[in-house]
Subunit: 193 residues, 2 copies
DNA sequence: CGCGGGTTTGATGATGCTCAAGCCCGGTGG
DNA sequence: CCACCGGGCTTGAGCATCATCAAACCCGCG
């Protein structure tokens, strides 16, 4: 149940097998089924969730009902509403399982204990955050300079698994385009080939 | 010369005055003049730069010459090309001073030493990265759901100083719109009032 | 078999881009 | 001190991309 998280940590910082073993007890294993929400907007986000298995999305909902997919998370990735988790304000995002999932949940107090106990873990999270920043910066770059088609092609190239695993409408939302536009783009691409 | 950085750290983690004093020596003070570049795309980014005084922007340039402003940084903020800095790959961003600046530069080895020596500093950077992620996530949200006018109004509300200090064309680029569109929006807004 | 959500297809229209020209203003040199 | 650049901002006209609204279609599931 903890293979992925151990690997996620070991690939970023040096850590002994014993310590790795110790870390496991900070996590709360949780299985959730497809369509289940692990966070509702308005609640306080209690956990950072690490994905051992499965696939999820985080998204916001505007007053008019429009959804905006912020992030997808699959095996080996974290997902959360960081602003809510760290500052204990109401979450603006929902998080929904798009497949049956096996998660490892980390509460704020568990995280604090853990990073206090293991400096390498503090480092792990810093590195993780840095990596996340880089991907977010790239996304902003794409959002500004690419056409709808270019954004889709880029996603196909960089994260083909997202396209395989996510319903199309969520991919459209993630890219900031409408489902109709995405459908037309796909049609066009398939006829070109 | 180090007031801002000390305050930036103290506002996020507990640290003694002595330790704070010790930290100063890790930074390289540097003055740069308006228009000067502290990073050119293609180079390896050697520093994270903390702004004690002044105002800068980071931006990418496409093959066709189009610029895209990624970030503005003013007093109390950090700016860098993190992907290049941490992974020692070629930078994709340029960083240019938009005003005369007083910076504190931090090399990778200085950072590593510092976080090894002071666990609170490791924590400081983790928190910093988290905060940055939250702002980037918000920006992606805006980019997807807001019109050009809404994005501008939001920026006016959240970062009025950027609007006061940056040339308009860079603001447009930051928002992902053309200078012409921004000009028209401003005209419209002023006539409405 | 029929329902329903998701995807596709079509028609129309708005937002914002492109290209082009003019304007404003600060800086430079005669 | 004034004339003349030149960059940035403004204004205008036409157009492309993409959103919206609406309807049909597809397919899995009860």
């Amino acid at each position: 149940m903890h293979e992925q998280i151990i690997q996620s940590i070991k690939s970023r910082v040096e850590i002994s097998d014993q310590d790795a073993e110790m870390l496991k007890r900070y996590f709360i294993p949780k299985k959730v089924r497809k369509r289940q929400y692990i966070l509702n907007a308005g609640d306080i986000c209690q956990y950072m969730a690490f994905v051992e298995k499965g696939f999820l999305r985080s998204f916001s909902v505007e007053e008019n009902g429009n959804e905006h997919v912020i992030q997808f998370a699959m095996e080996g990735r974290w997902i959360s509403d960081l602003a809510s988790f760290f500052s204990e304000v109401n979450a603006v995002y929902n998080i929904e399982a798009l497949e049956d999932c096996e998660l490892l949940l980390l509460t704020k107090s568990a995280l604090d204990e853990m990073v206090g106990q293991f400096p390498q873990v503090e480092r792990y999270f810093r590195i993780l955050m840095q990596e996340h920043i880089i991907t977010l910066e790239n996304r902003i770059g794409y959002a500004h300079s690419y056409t709808a088609e270019e954004k889709y092609l880029k996603l196909m190239k960089v994260h083909p698994t997202i396209i395989q695993r996510s319903p199309q409408q969520y991919i459209a939302s993630y890219l900031g385009i409408t489902p109709e536009t995405l459908s037309r783009i796909r049609k066009q691409l398939s006829s070109k080939k």
